[in-house]
């Protein structure tokens, strides 16, 4: 059994980390921190987990050494005290955006402040197993992934890999996302009478995850637009790509199969009939699966590529545990093989 502690455990990602790790066959959850709820029972923040453990939140300075530290702090916090976390554990997984990008100047451009620990950037591996498995397996420090970025990357990666994407035109990705993405902090934007039934273009241009998609796909022309729609969990990336050469359905089946052969958490969804012909986050709630697929417009050669995930799972906590399994040599599926809840 390995000892894992969670830093910043009172948020939604913290809750999912606990939900998975408390049931993980090879993990013992040692501590979970929260400054705000220090001393309180963990189920004060995670009512659905009542009775699963007798953990209480501890303040950060009470953290003891352990095998793996999973950081679930707001952006900008992890990089300020990374040296301290590194003294407490040999392996660190940071779910925030602090160590996702390799280039500090790119970080500053997108996040608006200079990176606080640029020397650490090269020591972190980008934590997307489907693209980075070997590097993660051998890494001590792994970053999390942006949920919108992951849905977009997994949707389009097979087309990039098959050399179908015209790098000049690149991709237009419109990502529709649920409210839990914005986290636990309540405010005017998350007030139910305003948020319910709204179709809100909260980041039509300039969304930070653009840099992550550019880095992961090695593609400059990434045109990302974010729209908030009514759901709590769920992301659907709808990506428009104009292929360089004529493509057929069979070419696309081959591209997606080859890209994701043997992947434990990626499913190809491309049906002719039925309610769920294309990926829909509706069937992924609480699961670590990513459903990918496409639609081909034969008249114009436009490929519409889809990527659907649960933003709190494959978009954050589930993906972090998938990386932990790889780093610790466990079965990559350990603690993560639950299917989505449906209907919900």
């Amino acid at each position: 059994m390995i000892r894992v502690s969670i830093v910043g455990g009172s948020g939604y990602v913290g809750g999912e980390l606990l939900r998975i790790l408390l049931k993980h066959p090879h993990v013992e959850v040692r501590q979970v921190t929260s400054e705000r709820l220090a001393g309180q029972w963990f189920h004060r923040a995670h009512p659905h987990l009542r009775g699963l453990s007798d953990l209480r939140f501890v303040p950060m300075e009470k953290l003891e050494a352990c095998d793996v530290l999973v950081l679930a702090l707001p952006h900008g916090r992890a990089m300020r005290s990374i040296d301290r976390w590194a003294r407490l554990a040999d392996r660190i997984i940071d779910c925030s955006a602090d160590f996702r990008l390799r280039d500090p100047t790119v970080y500053e451009r997108w996040y608006g402040t200079p990176h606080r620990a640029p020397a650490w950037l090269d020591r972190f591996v980008y934590g997307l197993p489907e693209l980075n498995r070997e590097a993660i397996r051998n890494a001590r420090y792994v970053s999390g992934v942006g949920c919108n970025a992951v849905a977009t990357i997994l949707a389009v990666w097979p087309l990039v890999r098959a050399g179908l994407v015209d790098s000049g035109r690149g991709i237009i990705a419109e990502v529709k996302a649920g409210s839990s993405e914005a986290g636990r902090q309540a405010g005017p934007a998350s007030h139910h009478p305003e948020r319910s039934r709204s179709i809100r273009s909260y980041a039509p241009v300039g969304h930070r995850h653009t840099a992550e998609v550019q880095m992961a796909l090695g593609l400059e022309a990434v045109h990302l637009s974010m729209t908030a729609v009514e759901t709590v969990r769920g992301v659907l990336a709808t990506c428009h790509v104009f292929s360089k050469r004529p493509v057929t359905e069979r070419d696309l089946w081959r591209a997606y199969r080859e890209a994701y052969a043997g992947e434990p958490f990626v499913r190809i969804v491309h049906e002719r009939t039925g309610l769920y012909r294309h990926p829909d986050p509706k069937v992924l709630v609480g699961s670590n699966y990513a459903d990918v697929g496409w639609a081909l417009d034969e008249q114009t050669g436009r490929i519409v590529a889809f990527g659907a995930i649960d933003n709190l799972m494959k978009g954050a906590a589930g993906n972090a545990v998938q990386c932990l399994n790889l780093m610790c040599g466990f079965d990559e599926r350990a603690g993560l093989d639950a299917p989505g809840l449906y209907p919900v």
Partner: protein, 55 residues
């Protein structure tokens, strides 16, 4: 008295007793405009507070 918004060129209706330093929101684009001077009339963009809605 009307002026033109420096940001979006929209029309701005101004009160007769306009004072220097007053902040006037543009009706079209919502820009907060500061009255830099009354005669001659000069409007400039007032510093903004950025809203952040999470991820």
């Amino acid at each position: 008295m009307t002026a033109v918004c420096p940001e979006c060129e929209g029309p701005i209706r101004l009160a007769e007793d306009l004072m220097e330093g007053e902040i006037i929101p543009c009706g079209d684009c919502g820009a907060e405009l500061e009255v830099l001077s009354v005669t001659p009339l000069k409007l400039g963009l007032a510093p903004e507070v950025q809203e952040d809605w999470g991820e």
